[in-house]
């Protein structure tokens, strides 16, 4: 009887420890083997490889732009979901709810500001990330498809920002979307149908608000999440971020002797294997091809993901969050006059990332709004299939790629100039004004 009692007491006493150990099966790593195994033992960490190239961790190489984009997306998702608890996508209630967020809702103003500035930042950072990838030649084989995925993400980001722009239902939102969807209407054949599909009506109204809301909070985030996941998967499968080539001539393989640091464990492992009487069967998981880190071939220039990569990612996350919060403390997101169907503002401007398009449209509706953007998009998409040269990967402004870089930067410069003109140099009736 007392034995039984003892065992009951012991079970209860061990309860917390057993609960903890059942959840956290692996201790925090303290050895290289432990650090290596984080990629296999933890769900969240298995997205990262065991080791990453040190070249790709250099801050000025990638500037962490891809990570910043992703973290901005996470910030947008979190703040967006919280805002959803108070926002109503109704033409009569939306504006009042925005007023509530600014006044009676605790932290409403902070969340809305963070959401707005993170959104603008994400469009800009995604674009800069695309520039970085291009200028370091990181779209070349085998990363062509990942480039396409990235272009898709860029379009999705623009579309998310655009759909969200309408939701405050103020003059700024209403007329910006009126202009933006009118530009979409210029597409040949499908233009009118596309516009009608987007708006759910002939003009921007309750239907458009509802559709844009659903697109913005459900459809686009879901698609974005999946495509982002695909983007990360591809990074892993492509062997990590693009890095400068080693010598072009494959070195003669030098046999490397690997000394394990923990001979004790090896012995213990061998003992375990010896003690195991049942024969073990191992099945081949798959054959892989390509420039992957291979067992036995230790690359000098790598570091463990745990903790180096993780710390780097955390630093980028903190910079992003602090940046967004700091801007949100000092700058309020705009809320203009409630929607007035009779009074289009003069001028009525699209969101800033579409102002380049609007500037082009002021010269030619079709070519400016549909033709040229379509051509630019097509060129972007075809870039990795046109530029098949293998040289210049992993370096900024590589001399081998001077033509490609110059061409790309020219397009970037033109688009930026168009946006600047559209923002600062256009006034009433789209006439030229001086911003000074």
């Amino acid at each position: 009887m007392s034995d039984e009692n003892n065992s009951i007491v012991k079970t209860l006493a061990n309860l917390p420890k057993n609960v903890w150990k059942s959840i956290f099966r692996n201790p925090l790593p303290s050895s290289d083997r432990g650090r290596a195994s984080t990629s296999f033992s933890n769900f969240f960490l298995h997205i990262q490889p065991v080791r990453v190239s040190r070249q790709t961790l250099r801050p000025m190489y990638t500037m962490g732009l891809g990570l910043i984009s992703f973290f901005l997306f996470v910030i947008l998702a979190v703040t967006g979901i919280l805002l959803m608890f108070y926002y109503v996508p109704s033409t009569t209630q939306a504006y009042d709810r925005m007023l509530d967020l600014r006044s009676s809702v605790a932290f409403g103003i902070s969340l809305r500001n963070m959401h707005r500035w993170a959104a603008h930042a994400m469009v800009a950072v995604v674009f800069l990330h695309m520039c970085r990838v291009f200028l370091t030649g990181a779209y070349k084989t085998p990363r062509e498809f990942n480039w396409l995925i990235g272009v898709t993400l860029f379009i999705l980001t623009l579309f998310s920002s655009f759909t969200g722009y309408l939701l405050p239902w103020d003059q700024l939102a209403f007329w910006a979307i009126t202009v933006g969807t009118s530009i979409a209407g210029y597409a040949p054949f499908v233009g009118k149908s596309l516009r009608f599909l987007l708006l759910g009506d002939a003009t921007v109204g309750q239907e458009a608000l509802l559709r844009f809301y659903v697109l913005h909070v459900v459809v686009l985030p879901a698609i974005l999440t999946i495509v982002v996941a695909l983007h990360f998967w591809r990074i892993r499968k492509d062997g990590g971020l693009a890095k400068p080539e080693e010598a072009t001539v494959a070195p003669t393989p030098v046999p490397v002797t690997v000394t394990l640091e923990e001979p004790v464990l090896v012995a213990a492992g061998a003992a375990m294997v010896a003690a195991d009487t049942a024969p073990r069967r191992f099945t081949i998981q798959g054959l892989v091809r390509g420039p992957f880190v291979k067992v036995g071939k230790l690359e000098e220039d790598t570091v463990f993901s745990w903790p180096t990569l993780l710390i780097a990612e955390l630093v980028v996350l903190l910079i992003t969050v602090i940046g967004v919060m700091a801007v949100s403390i000092f700058f309020n997101a705009p809320l203009e006059h409630p929607v007035n169907l009779m009074h289009p503002p003069n001028p009525a401007k699209a969101p800033w990332y579409f102002l380049g398009l609007q500037e082009q449209v002021s010269y030619s509706a079709f070519w400016g709004g549909v033709g040229i953007p379509a051509l630019e998009l097509l060129l972007l998409v075809l870039v990795p299939y046109i530029d098949r040269g293998k040289a210049g990967v992993g370096r900024w402004f590589a001399r081998e790629r001077v033509w490609a870089n110059t061409l790309f930067l020219t397009f970037v410069f033109i688009n930026v100039v168009l946006i600047v003109i559209g923002t600062f140099f256009r006034g009433a009736n789209w006439s030229f004004v001086s911003p000074f």
Binding site: T92, Q93, Y95, D96, L99, D100, R102, S103, S104, A106, F107, S110, D170, Q171, T308, I311, A312, L314, V315, L318, I319, V321, I322, M325, A326, S328, I329, L335, E336, H337, P338, N340, M342
Partner: protein, 607 residues
């Protein structure tokens, strides 16, 4: 890296701390704490003290359920979160925002058994129903509507940053609240809205009703419909627009009426009270009112008809009507002068009955580019008014030519003869600039004498021949020549132009003329030949409206030929002979122009 991580984590903690701290500080809580402190000092019983001590600031909110706001949204007023003492009678000397809302008999509040009972209690009405402002806001700047993006700032209190500095001081004062009383109290003689009543009176007395439409009051079509102007515009726009229409709408033809500041205030309050469907009528009633056919007789017609006895003789009745119908807010007659339209003091000498009645009925039937609206008054009123004007037959006293000019001509042609008289911007065609020597010196004198004596049909130049003797006419003419033109009259070259159009009027001629016209003339005269071509704003004098049938039909073929072939010196009309137009071409053009002016209505289509 680890250092960076540690530092950034710390910075994050600080930033988060700042954000969290900020959200727990609010001005409305401070106001309530102030109130509680003062109420505690005033507390009489220990129980009251105890309950006040445990009281925490709470967000106060009124949701009005009986009616919605102008945008169809729910009225949610949080004003009492700061203005916590509005219903506490002990704070009538308090410092805002902790202050009692006044109890006033004119608001319907009654004093019973030593305490006041509020008629318009806040639970039912909220605050913004009467005061405007932003009910949702909890910061003063938001709640008072100080941001210029907010369409309805606190009326009579808040001035938004972009309001004209000259106008802004006039827009403060409790009187402005009457505009919102009228949301429910729509009665014409409601005691609580005297300025709305006065504004309505002025709306008729000043003649606004002629150009503007207000549901149930007037049906003018020249200016915008003002039935909902109170919802569409803020008080600064209303005031500023009345003072100087062109500062707010550059192409406006609205005159600058002579009004005192008190008059302007009443008008602004009246206009602000026009907010479409009032809260007093159901949507169905409003719909039925809107759908009723037949223009409403302008209110002043009914009012004036009531005051003017039918037993009066027609001209006496006409005199009272003219004063009642606000003619003198534009025209001059005797001592009253609106400063906008011609002087009617000698009307009996310069116009006849038919002209007057036709002009009353449709001003553009006599002066096609007149900016006088058709007021839509009963026909026999027009007869009586014409009868009265025809009694004005006392000619101007004998004066020196200079004085005659000043008395009769300067109103339009300007004190300096430069065509910039007080009326000038309201007249189309504009009064002739008599200092334009290039023009004046190249015309035959007979033309000017004729213009003075028989007037210029289709323009506001009346026939002075009956009011002035020939000597007076010549005297004025010589005075003008000496004082304003200042040039020796030139001997005019004889010009080879026919007296009568040699090209017979036919459809082919008209078509040919149209082709030439569209190729050559539209730059100034416009595609519709109405004088509004793309060049016209930059030319002085403006290109002629060739659809001014009254004018065109009074001008001889000879003159038209001369103008086209040899141009009009002193104006931008070139000599088309130099550009290759032959006589036949000009003849075709003449036929085309005449085809546009065959009937009054065919010309009016161009207008």
């Amino acid at each position: 890296m680890r250092t960076a991580l540690a530092v950034l984590s710390l910075v994050l903690l600080i930033v988060v701390g700042v954000v969290v701290y900020g959200q727990f500080q609010s001005h409305w809580q401070d106001s309530q704490k102030e109130y509680l402190t003062q109420a505690l000092a005033m507390a009489k019983t220990p129980a009251e003290k105890a309950s006040l001590e445990v009281q925490e600031p709470k967000l106060e909110q009124t949701i009005v359920t009986s009616f919605k706001d102008a945008r169809g949204g729910t009225i949610v007023d949080r004003c009492e979160s700061c203005h916590i003492a509005v219903d506490d009678p002990r704070f009538d000397n308090g410092k805002e925002p902790v202050r009692t809302h006044p109890y006033l008999a004119e608001l319907g509040d009654v004093e019973k058994n030593g305490h006041w009972e509020r008629k318009h209690n806040f639970t039912e009405f909220g605050c913004t129903t009467c005061h405007d402002g932003q009910g949702h806001g909890l910061e003063k700047a938001d709640a008072h509507g100080e941001d210029q993006a907010w369409p309805s700032p606190l009326i009579g209190y808040t001035i938004q940053a972009d309001w004209d500095k000259g106008v802004a001081p006039h827009l403060k004062g409790k009187d402005y609240l009457q505009a919102n009383c009228a949301r429910c109290h729509t009665g014409k003689t409601f005691a609580g809205t005297p300025l709305v009543t006065r504004g309505r009176e002025l709306y008729f007395k000043t003649g606004c009703f002629g150009c503007h439409r207000i549901q149930g009051l007037s049906s003018g079509t020249v200016g915008p419909d003002l039935s909902e102007i109170g919802n569409e515009r803020k008080v600064d726009y209303l005031w500023g627009h009345i003072v100087n229409p062109r500062a707010y709408a550059p192409t406006s033809v609205m005159p600058q009426f002579k009004l005192s500041d008190d008059d302007r205030k009443a008008l602004v309050i009246f206009l602000k009270s026009r907010q479409g469907t009032t809260l007093a009528e159901s949507p169905m009633e409003a719909f039925k009112l809107n759908a009723s056919t037949g223009a409403p007789v302008p209110e002043s017609a009914a009012t004036v008809a009531a005051t003017v006895s039918a037993s009066l003789s027609t001209s006496a009745r006409g005199e009272q009507l003219i004063n009642g119908y606000a003619c003198l807010s534009c025209h001059k007659l005797g001592d009253h002068d609106g400063g906008i339209s011609p002087d009617l003091s000698y009307e009996g000498l310069v116009r006849d009955h038919d002209w007057l009645v036709a002009h009353f009925r449709t001003p553009r039937s006599r002066i096609p580019d007149s900016n006088m609206p058709a007021f839509g008054l009963p026909a026999n009123d027009y007869d009586d008014m014409a009868a009265y004007l025809l009694t004005r037959t006392t000619p101007p006293p004998a004066m020196s030519p200079a004085d005659t000019f000043k008395a009769l001509c300067a109103r339009c042609h300007g004190e300096n003869g430069d065509g910039k008289g007080v009326n000038a911007i309201y007249l189309d065609p504009a009064p002739r600039d008599l200092t334009l020597a290039e023009f004046m010196a190249n015309k035959p004198h007979d033309r000017f004498i004729s213009s003075i004596k028989i007037g210029v049909p289709g323009t506001s130049m009346p026939p002075w021949g009956n009011a002035l003797s020939d000597d007076q006419v010549n005297g004025v003419f010589n005075y003008v020549w000496a004082t304003y033109v200042k040039e020796k009259p030139r001997t005019l070259k004889p010009r080879n132009v026919p007296q009568v159009n040699p090209v017979t009027y036919s459809q082919q001629s008209v078509d040919r003329g149209e082709t030439i016209f569209l190729a050559r003339c539209t730059g100034c005269h416009g595609k519709k030949a109405d004088g509004h071509g793309p060049n016209s704003p930059d030319i002085s004098p403006r290109p002629r409206n060739l659809r001014n049938f009254a004018f065109i039909n009074s001008v001889s073929d000879h003159r038209l030929f001369e103008s086209i072939t040899y141009g009009v010196e002193g104006t931008a009309m070139p000599s088309w002979l130099d550009y290759g137009l032959q006589q036949n071409d000009v003849g075709d053009i003449l036929n085309y122009i005449h085809s546009l002016n065959k009937t009054a209505s065919s010309a009016a289509i161009g207008n």
